[in-house]
Symmetry: C2
Subunit: 218 residues, 2 copies
């Protein structure tokens, strides 16, 4: 009876690919409404299945959310990778390094603006620990953090960053773009026009570029 209401009425008793269907439904909910919007019962409804069926694939709502979050993290990585592919190594390694760093930062921010719900979900409460989990990566096989590391490595190798300044620089750079993204998405900067956000993003990455290097001013 209720099943008819749902999206698709399957004829087989077995769904066949329920776990995946639930994650997909959850991902869409996250896309629209952020982490709080991913509700287990609704996912089962969209999959045309009874609520409890979900428990054959996830220990509970939290575990479903984890799966969705993981998917969101992959999207973030993909967005960065996309941006990064645009900058190819020319004859100037320093310019290449700088462009790489910018790509990471702007790719990150760009995704946050394009897909607020997924972005917020990707970085919501239960930290997926520092997982070398291959599920969070894009096609290149690198997650967002590793892509950032790559860009910073290029900075170092091209002589733009001393060994000491290179150390743990990912956390500094990451904090910066992540902070702006969140302030805009769910913070007091919510109403800031997107054009200004973009401009601010550019300045922000420039700031990081300069600020990471401790050799400059005193």
């Amino acid at each position: 009876m209720k099943k008819i209401v749902s999206t698709l009425k399957r004829k087989t008793f077995r769904h066949g690919d329920l776990r995946n269907a639930l994650v997909t439904a959850g991902l869409e909910m996250a896309r629209v409404g952020g982490p709080d919007a991913v509700v287990l019962r609704e996912a089962t409804r969209q999959a045309g299945v009874s609520p409890n069926a979900a428990y054959r694939h996830f220990a509970g709502q939290a575990e479903l959310l984890d799966a969705v979050r993981s998917a969101c993290l992959s999207r973030v990585a993909a967005a960065i990778e996309e941006e990064m592919k645009k900058c190819r190594p020319g004859r100037d390694p320093q310019a290449f390094a700088r462009k790489s760093l910018r790509a990471v930062g702007m790719g990150y921010l760009g995704f946050a603006m394009r897909e607020p719900g997924m972005f917020r979900t990707a970085f919501s409460v239960p930290p997926p620990v520092d997982s070398p989990d291959p599920a969070n990566t894009a096609s290149m096989g690198l997650n967002a953090f590793q892509l950032l590391s790559l860009a910073l490595d290029r900075m170092h190798e091209s002589g733009l960053l001393s060994r000491k300044d290179r150390q743990d620089a990912e956390y500094l750079a990451w904090s910066t773009v992540h902070g702006l993204a969140l302030l805009v998405l769910e913070g007091p900067l919510h109403k800031m026009p997107r054009e200004m956000v973009r401009a601010l993003g550019e300045r922000l990455v420039s700031m990081v570029e300069r600020g990471l290097n401790s050799e400059t001013a005193n």
Copy 2:
């Protein structure tokens, strides 16, 4: 019957200060569990009152949360102010300016580490807009943003920051510390030892200090 279970059984029919009691209860819940933990029914329970009584003071749960959030924002401002009082203007205005900026950043991060729940609540989803709302301020009458502006003004006035670089610099600086705070509190940096967070915070503020100034490197 249920009333007896609750904290305090009042004898007067009127509570007298229910709105405040609800916010206080909510604040404590936020302190412990973040924004999602502030639940209306529980607040009324702690106030020894029926659930619906809350609706005489708030349009709904969201409005209660708003009040709690506002209280949290005040705490943030207070924490920064506290840190800022430590640095008094000496004979070197530039050193004073730098110290001020550091105070804002470290006060912000310090509060985030000390009171994760309140911090997360303060900056959770529904942005309190850019409210010149006096409720969000500490005793000095300045909110977190204004305290940051003050520090940046000192940077500018002491010649550490050009007029152009001063422009909207609060957003850049803010993004930075906010990002680190959130990555640590509810992001992938969750398990990072607090000592390292502190060290990272110091580096971060240094980075901002250098990076804000576009006159340095190229």
